[in-house]
């Protein structure tokens, strides 16, 4: 069952002189079980789009089908709580929202809020923290004492603890150092591969999108410009130019090699597989 936007539009400041159509007749089916990236320039509507996924924003026109829920413009929604449990949204700079006295309590807040008994909520929190690789010795520490990367993993654990089926991450690696970014990337890959969660990532980091996301959606001025294979998008020079996207370094390298007469199959997408194929040709 895909996540299905049907002729969905959203208008900020509706009816005001400043009214602005942030999403304009969106038709989009996002697959379950894969990692999908949403990219596009600042102000293109990426965050507005993902905030519809757990009904933080409700459509002004059209509808959204997600899991067993159907959100239709103009209709009163009765299932917001279970929807928000099933679709976890990790905001940009989510670590700013940590507020509890201890790491464990902060992560347990989500399950408690969804009506889980305190003992069980703490158990779920501990499991989520284990999953994001936060050691038990940090459980009783104030979240403020952690590093930037650790804080963000704690914030993500708060969402994971509610056991959502779909996890949406808005700019999950922004502002982190390379090591912190790698930890977050490893985390969402493992959530996808091991726990089969559907992952949706909003990002400006084309290198990360190219390396780790199966599908990509390109938004521009509130409209879908592209939806399909990440590799096909980034290996197509015309599309990159048309959508004003920076070419990932590995693609630049691939293209240079091909321009110089080296043969590369479509499977050679990573540095390792490219080196492997070139190595064979040089033997």
């Amino acid at each position: 069952m895909p996540i299905s936007f049907k002729s969905l539009s959203y208008i900020y400041n509706k009816g005001m002189p400043y009214a602005h159509k942030a999403l304009d007749d969106i038709n989009l089916d996002i697959k379950e079980g894969v990692i999908t990236a949403i990219i596009g320039e600042t102000g293109s509507g990426k965050s507005t789009l993902v905030e519809h996924l757990n009904a933080l924003l409700l459509p002004d026109e059209g509808s959204l089908e997600i899991l067993d829920y159907n959100i239709v413009a103009g209709q009163k929604q009765k299932f917001l709580k279970p929807l928000r449990k099933d679709v976890g949204l990790v905001f940009q700079f989510s670590e700013y929202q940590l507020f509890e006295e201890t790491v464990l309590k902060d992560v347990a807040f989500g399950p408690l809020n969804f009506g889980v008994f305190p003992d069980e909520a703490l158990k779920m929190a501990a499991e989520a923290l284990k999953l994001v690789n936060i050691d038990e010795s940090y459980f009783d520490v104030s979240p403020l004492e952690l590093s930037g990367g650790q804080k963000r993993r704690v914030a993500i654990a708060g969402i994971i603890a509610c056991d959502p089926k779909i996890i949406v991450l808005d700019e999950p690696t922004a502002g982190l150092d390379p090591h912190g970014s790698k930890e977050i990337i490893d985390l969402f890959i493992s959530l996808n591969k091991r726990l089969h969660k559907t992952i949706i990532i909003v990002s400006h980091d084309n290198e990360m999108v190219y390396n780790y996301c199966d599908e990509t959606v390109v938004l521009s001025h509130g409209k879908i410009r592209y939806h399909g294979s990440t590799f096909e998008l980034f290996s197509n020079k015309e599309l990159l130019k048309e959508y004003n996207l920076l070419e990932p370094q590995i693609v630049t390298f691939r293209n240079l090699l091909q321009d110089n007469g080296f043969k590369l199959s479509d499977e050679a997408r990573t540095l390792d597989s490219i080196t492997e194929e070139i190595g064979r040709q040089l033997k």
Partner: protein, 274 residues
């Protein structure tokens, strides 16, 4: 004498951890110096010590021959400006113009001079058409440029950028890096930039690598990046061309360090020689 002299500086936020642990190096007038290191390595602490936002526990920092301490800080601050990470946290005025004017008002610049100064520096950062804009209608990169214009209007000769591009989108990052490069082009302005961006490090004159509060390396950027093993040891990213060199070395194909095009040319030569 160097413009900034850092001598055996220590700083600790608490008793267990020394945030800066015996760091010494100099920065010459007009240099563009990048400081790298993973989170918690002491980069931001060091920048705050130079700016006098934190007091050194021992050792000394001098800026233009003046020791950074309570007596001299007012004099030092007149020549030093800081751009922080989050563009939303440093917008004070209700419009671009008001924001640039804020610092000038603090310095009691007569209002008839202000218009000219605001025009000059908004032009310098490429925002002269945006003077009446409100912050919420600006992109992250534009907000950072407003912050930079406000600082430049104070005519500092030392600029500190504390991860000023890390929260921006690729376009914003590019804008600010270009502006930093242009500002650094003359001999007048000295830039100290804390960053994770390898591309930015490569456009600087000098690179300081910090690890656990200690000076780990201090050299030209290309020299720093030539030692990939050393960088990996402290969890830092390795430039892409270096990753290529290593990947081929594993398959017994030896390449020299070069730019991407040069690497491909080497592979072509290798092909015709075998």
């Amino acid at each position: 004498m160097s413009l900034i002299e850092i001598k055996d500086v220590y700083y600790a936020y608490n008793e267990q951890n020394k945030a800066i642990d015996g760091v010494s190096f100099d920065i010459k007038q007009g240099d563009y110096v990048t400081i790298i290191g993973h989170n918690g390595s002491g980069k931001s602490t060091l920048a705050k010590l130079i700016a006098g936002l934190l007091p050194v526990k021992s050792g000394s920092i001098t800026v233009g021959g003046l020791e950074v301490n309570e007596d001299n800080i007012a004099a030092i601050r007149t020549r030093l400006g800081i751009v922080f990470q989050n563009p939303d946290n440093q917008f004070i005025g209700s419009t671009v113009k008001d924001d640039i004017a804020f610092g000038l008002e603090n310095r009691q610049i007569p209002s008839e001079q202000m218009e000219g100064i605001i025009r000059e520096y908004s032009e310098k950062v490429g925002l002269s058409d945006y003077l009446e804009y409100e912050p919420q209608n600006l992109s992250g990169g534009q907000k950072q440029r407003v912050a930079i214009a406000g600082i430049l209007a104070m005519k500092p000769d030392i600029l500190i950028f504390d991860e000023a591009t890390s929260m921006l989108d690729p376009k914003g990052k590019k804008e600010i890096k270009k502006l930093m490069y242009d500002l650094a082009a003359g001999d007048d302005i000295t830039i100290i930039s804390i960053t994770h961006d390898i591309e930015e490090v490569l456009q600087s004159d000098d690179c300081v690598v910090l690890n656990k509060g200690k000076l780990f390396m201090h050299d030209k950027p290309e020299k720093v990046f030539a030692d990939a093993e050393k960088l990996r040891k402290i969890d830092l990213d390795v430039p892409f061309v270096e990753q290529i060199r290593e990947a081929f070395a594993k398959r017994k194909i030896k390449l020299k360090n070069d730019d991407l095009k040069g690497m491909v040319e080497q592979l072509c030569r290798y092909r015709s020689n075998h």
